[in-house]
């Protein structure tokens, strides 16, 4: 047992050490805290604890003071001496380091009073900010491994299976396949081929802007491990693999630590908790190919082959790793399992909607005030996520669309802001749940450009094995590219729709099947933007610079800026005529539409149409 846990402290300082806070130097903050605490002679009274991702990444580096749940944010090293003396020594919380919501006058001291946290319901992230991910005892103190004890000693495999089935849990990695049914397939699969079965955790998170899996593995690796052991018992498997991207070094390192601790305690290995059940887990690191998140490609990669998908059936449940029945679930799905066993299927299924039970973790990013990791009950509306939790769009801009499901998903327009978030409703509007990326876009976003971005992503990540995906996404990219350059043809929209349909129908795997979704949804909801690009050669959001015409409002230039000459100095094409104290002009023939003058003008005199 760890020594620190023997001692009582009057205060715990929970420093966020998720990847976002770490890159904002949270370890420096931790060192500064420890140094200052020592200086004040408080080292026997106050303990500094590093935790996993707190979720409010926008405001890092973060510190939560317990007891009291006092939330400090955007800390800098220079704030620490004052903070330690005032709050930790003298008991006066420091207001200026607390979170102040935009448009409000006074800060909100207590974490649970902050809107960002208020509407969240934590199941997969139940230990968020409360445990040190590198200390197994702290996980155990939060009822960790008690579900495992229950599953191994009090429950039969069928009972575990039924509990998961009745909970209504569906795959959190994207497809939303009922987890219990998948488990049943694997449990019933014949093991003629040597008798092995495999349990796999899919941590090959690749959607742009998505970091749910990484955060869970970093913040609470034991929850995933415990879930996997319980699953293994239910399915009769003895070997487990966590497939995680090599680009997630912190997740890999914390997972390694957790596996070692679990093995030391005999929670992995032979005869777990004296129950006679054997199971162990090893880590396989992926090289970061997006396609390896697809289960058949993932298995190929684990087996040391080229990460390419193969047609299904046979499904992994029948013929998986090395021909053995294999159950592949996403990180978040596994993290839900211990709670389902502990609190029961009935409790779990009381959260959410008729068809989508429980909660979902989203990474909320893009044009939103409160960027971060959020866990919300299924059925919550987009409006609640964007306005209440996310705090709305920065700079008073208008909300335009939200992209869910990554490159496989689609763009949901602002008029659908009251859409409840569940598997079915997202599919109905042309998007999908996906693994939980949620990219918010404001009025300055060009939807054709967004579609082009996602197609270029899938085009790059296409493994090239099947023609529809390899050639089709390329053809779609070329069409979108020419539309954004003002060279779009009248028939391009029809052509895009035709291509999208054939790729969807004929591609080999999920990557190709869903790759056209961003194009299809933007065509469905923002067709007018495509038409403006093609017919009028205009980009309504002024993003596609080649379609823009820049000009200078001479009155503003002279009256406000006194002809500051900044635009002319920065123009690389010699296209600006004028000198200091005179109004400037753009020579449209020379202008290369790079937009530099627009960016450098401090007086808003450079206009775009």
């Amino acid at each position: 047992m760890e020594k620190e846990n023997e001692k009582a402290y009057r205060m715990h300082l929970m420093v966020c050490a998720g990847t976002a806070c770490v890159s904002n130097n949270s370890f420096e903050i931790k060192d500064a805290l420890e140094k200052e605490i020592k200086k004040q002679g408080l080292e026997d009274e106050i303990l500094v604890v590093t935790t996993g991702c707190n979720g409010f990444c926008e405001r890092g580096p973060l510190l939560v003071v317990q007891p009291g749940n006092i939330f400090y944010q955007q800390l800098e090293k220079k704030n620490i001496p004052h903070l330690v003396e005032e709050h930790f020594l003298k008991g006066r919380p420091v207001k200026k380091l607390m979170y102040k919501p935009p448009k409000e006058k006074s800060p909100v001291p207590v974490l649970s009073d902050i809107n960002f946290f208020k509407k969240q319901v934590l199941v997969a992230l139940r230990n968020r900010g409360l445990v040190d991910p590198e200390k197994i005892d702290e996980y155990i103190a939060r009822d960790g491994y008690s579900a495992l004890a229950k599953a191994l000693t009090e429950m039969k495999a069928e009972q575990i299976l039924n509990e998961v089935k009745n909970s209504g849990l569906r795959g959190r990695g994207g497809g939303g396949f009922p987890t219990g049914i998948k488990w049943e397939f694997v449990r019933k699969a014949s093991t003629s081929n040597g008798g092995e079965k495999y349990i796999v955790c899919n941590g090959d998170e690749g959607d742009p802007g998505a970091f749910m899996d990484r955060s869970i593995l970093e913040a609470d690796p034991h929850s995933v491990i415990e879930g996997m052991i319980i699953g293994a018992k239910a399915m009769g498997a003895n070997k487990g693999i966590v497939y995680v991207r090599n680009e997630y070094p912190l997740a890999v390192s914390r997972l390694n630590t957790a596996l070692r601790q679990a093995r030391d305690y005999g929670l992995l290995g032979k005869d777990i908790l004296g129950s006679g059940f054997d199971f162990d887990i090893k880590i396989v690191r992926g090289a970061g190919a997006f396609v390896c998140g697809e289960e058949t490609a993932l298995m190929a990669s684990i087996m040391g082959r080229l990460g390419e998908p193969r047609p299904r059936p046979p499904y992994p449940a029948e013929k998986g790793l090395w021909g053995h029945p294999t159950c592949i679930n996403n990180v978040e799905s596994w993290a839900n399992i211990p709670t389902i066993i502990n609190r029961g299927a009935k409790w779990f299924s009381s959260i959410g909607t008729d068809t989508s039970k429980g909660t979902k973790v989203f990474s909320l990013v893009g044009k939103i005030n409160n960027t971060g990791l959020v866990e919300v009950p299924m059925g919550i509306t987009l409006r609640e996520i964007i306005e209440d939790i996310g705090g709305g769009i920065p700079e008073g801009k208008k909300f335009k669309a939200v992209q869910t499901g990554g490159p496989s998903g689609g763009c949901i327009p602002s008029e659908k802001i009251d859409l409840p978030i569940d598997y079915e409703s997202l599919t109905e509007v042309g998007s999908m749940m996906g693994s939980g990326g949620m990219v918010v876009m404001d009025e300055d976003t060009c939807m054709v450009d967004v579609a082009k971005y996602f197609i270029s992503f899938t085009q790059n990540e296409s493994c090239g094995k099947c023609t529809p995906c390899r050639e089709g996404t390329k053809a779609m990219y070329e069409i979108l590219d020419r539309i954004t350059k003002g060279e779009g043809l009248e028939e391009d929209i029809d052509l895009l729709e035709d291509l999208a349909k054939s790729i969807k129908d004929s591609a080999l795997c999920g990557l190709g099947n869903t790759a056209p979704n961003p194009v299809l949804t933007t065509l469905r909801y923002f067709r007018d933007e495509y038409e403006a690009h093609i017919k009028e050669k205009k980009c309504p959001a002024h993003v596609c610079r080649e379609l823009n015409t820049y000009y200078i409002d001479e009155e503003t230039c002279l009256k406000k800026g006194h002809g500051c000459d900044m635009c002319r100095k920065n123009c690389t094409a010699d296209a600006i005529i004028g000198e200091t104290k005179t109004a400037h002009k753009i020579n449209q023939e020379k202008c290369i539409k790079c937009g530099v003058c627009y960016d450098v003008c401090r007086f808003d005199a450079v206009k775009v149409k």
Binding site: A8, H12, L89, L130, R142, Y145
Partner: protein, 129 residues
């Protein structure tokens, strides 16, 4: 490291929980606030805090919260501490010593008997106008 049994797991849980309980939102049966303004610290509030911590550590209680706050406004009577037993009016103790603090912990916090001779009085100032 010997392999854990289910009982070992429970023991680790209980043991660690005692140390980490203060992170949870739970209801506390008793709250001890040591006033640690500059005046309090100068008068020896740090020793009082340590004395309470020592006592707290000796018990297995997870429902007692020990915390600090700023100057209580009666600087001449420092060091001071406020004891709040859930459901009862807070009691302020003045001119504390380590010995008095330990006694207060045992008698008031643990056994529920207020020590009149060390107390300033019951109740708190009104905080809302």
């Amino acid at each position: 490291m010997p392999k854990l049994t289910i009982d070992d797991l429970k023991k680790i849980r209980e043991k660690t929980k005692r140390r980490t309980e203060l992170r949870e939102d739970g209801d506390y049966r008793a709250k001890i606030t040591v006033h640690m303004g500059t005046c309090g610290i100068a008068a020896g509030a740090r020793k009082i805090m340590n004395a309470f911590m020592e006592e707290l550590e000796k018990t297995d209680a997870t429902d007692i919260l020990l915390t600090n706050s700023g100057c209580a406004g009666l600087c001449s009577k420092e060091p001071m501490a406020t004891i709040e037993i859930s459901g009862q009016a807070p009691v302020k103790y003045i001119e504390l010593t380590e010995k008095k603090a330990k006694e207060i912990f045992q008698k008031h916090v643990m056994e529920g008997n207020l020590i009149k001779k060390y107390a300033l009085g019951k109740g708190s100032e009104k905080t809302d106008a």
